[in-house]
């Protein structure tokens, strides 16, 4: 059975379980919308400060909503016998990581699809969707790749909800900064900006490779 088939089988199982339990999507989506609404009322949005505030509000909503989901995917697997259900099967451990990663990207992605139109409406941001899509996809991939690895580590501890952000935040800071700046550059044309999208892609590649290799050691002991 190929790595792709194994990954798809685990992902299919996770999607089906989530569609039945609805524990993750509902919480993440509500949280993201709540953050956007609060930010919208908290700041006095004028045309001149819109570009400074709006990208930050968007990524705060995405990052914090992601943490709700990241902790949940692995914690759900750890319930009733830790990772044993999957580890019992003769599958490549990379497939488990990739399936969990894709699941997280998918779950966060759905929340983003719901939150983005609300964001555009509340913040009155008429930016081109085509430019934002690669930023959101790459930013989400970076957050999910690190988050999936560390949520597997944190899931073995009692204080996993506390530990996960402490472990992950410092690592995803470059991705979050680059995502915020890249989103901001869509709203105001700036010169001499670093290639933020390329930076996010580079971090994604590094985190993805390292996490795929390290995941096996994290879950097996």
């Amino acid at each position: 059975m190929s790595l792709l088939n194994q990954t798809w089988t685990i992902l299919w199982k996770d999607i089906r379980c989530e569609l039945r339990s609805k524990q993750m999507w509902a919480g993440m989506g509500l949280f993201a919308l709540l953050v956007l609404v609060i930010f919208n009322f908290a700041f006095d949005l004028r045309v001149d400060n819109q570009a400074a505030v709006a990208p930050g509000a968007l990524w705060v909503a995405f990052v914090f909503a992601s943490f709700l989901g990241l902790g949940r995917t692995i914690a759900a697997e750890r319930e009733h016998g830790s990772f044993d259900r999957l580890l019992l099967c003769p599958v490549d451990r990379k497939a488990i990581y990739l399936a969990k990663l894709l699941g997280n990207v998918l779950f966060i992605g759905v929340v983003e699809i719901v939150a983005l139109p609300v964001f555009a409406m509340l913040f009155n941001v008429p930016f081109a969707a085509a430019g934002l899509i690669p930023i959101v996809i790459l930013g989400t991939l970076g957050i999910a790749s690190v988050g999936t690895l560390f949520s597997a580590m944190a899931a073995t501890t009692r204080a996993r909800e506390l530990l996960l952000p402490i472990l992950v935040f410092p690592l995803i800071v470059p991705i979050v900064i680059a995502s915020v700046r890249a989103t901001g550059s869509l709203m105001i044309v700036t010169t001499n900006e670093p290639p933020w999208l390329g930076l996010i892609a580079a971090f994604d590649a590094i985190f993805l490779s390292l996490s795929t290799v390290l995941f096996e050691h994290v879950i097996e002991e």
Binding site: M1, H80, D84, C89, P90, V91
Partner: protein
């Protein structure tokens, strides 16, 4: 011991600083059944979890069907079925979906036919569309047995398999184990039932404080001897 299927040499395992297995040596031939006895905390479950490939031994060597567990873990897992205290099922999936998932993970051919046939065999045919989370403890144990037998393993590891089963379930378990052995399958199970264990196996091993304290063929076993040793080591 002409055809050893399972061989353990000086298997050790510690959790942190606490040693759980202190050098276990066991041999089991293909097609034979062994009952693993021992008091709570003797290391029985840890030993089975090592053999199932769920945790790595800290030291020693395990070979299953001629394969080294450390070197060829995935290949070994294809040959091993494990029923633990936990059923290792997904509450949000139906009984059929659970078996289909594991059948696909083992890359079985015709997974649906295999899963449906096994559900019928364990008496859950009519409950195949019900979520595992809604099944009773005994039904979950039947489903766990079906999961463990799904890929027709050569070696079956059962950790107190009677848990939660009613009389009908116990009879089913005996039938399934008989069929497994008739196929030439090897069986290692743990139990606390000292009275009936020798009658259900070919060998009895008694684990105490992470070591094999007593091992005997069931046919030549002196029940009083075994009970005396058990009383001594279980203290």
């Amino acid at each position: 011991m002409s055809n050893p299927y399972l061989e353990l040499n000086n298997v050790q395992k510690s959790f942190g600083l606490k040693p759980v297995l202190r050098g276990v040596d066991l041999t089991l031939n293909a097609g034979e059944r062994m009952a693993l006895l021992g008091a709570n905390g003797a290391g029985k479950t840890t030993l089975l979890r090592i053999l199932a490939g769920l945790i790595r031994p800290g030291g020693g060597r395990v070979t299953i069907g001629g394969l080294d567990l450390r070197e060829q873990a995935r290949e070994v897992q294809r040959r091993v079925g494990f029923v633990a205290h936990q059923p290792y099922l997904y509450d949000d999936l139906t009984a059929l979906e659970n078996l289909l998932f594991f059948a696909r993970m083992y890359a079985l051919e015709q997974p649906r036919q295999r899963a449906e046939a096994l559900l019928q065999r364990v008496g859950l045919g009519k409950r195949s569309r019900e979520r595992a989370g809604s099944l009773s403890r005994g039904q979950l144990q039947r489903l766990a047995l079906a999961r463990a037998l799904l890929h027709t393993p050569d070696l079956l590891l059962l950790d107190e398999p009677e848990t939660g089963l009613d009389q009908e379930g116990l009879a089913l378990l005996a039938e399934l184990l008989h069929e497994h052995q008739a196929r030439g399958g090897t069986l290692l199970f743990t139990t606390h039932d000292l009275e009936s264990a020798p009658g259900r196996c070919d060998h009895v091993a008694l684990l105490s404080r992470g070591r094999v304290a007593y091992q005997q063929e069931a046919t030549s076993l002196e029940r009083e001897d075994m009970l005396r040793v058990y009383q001594e080591v279980a203290r």
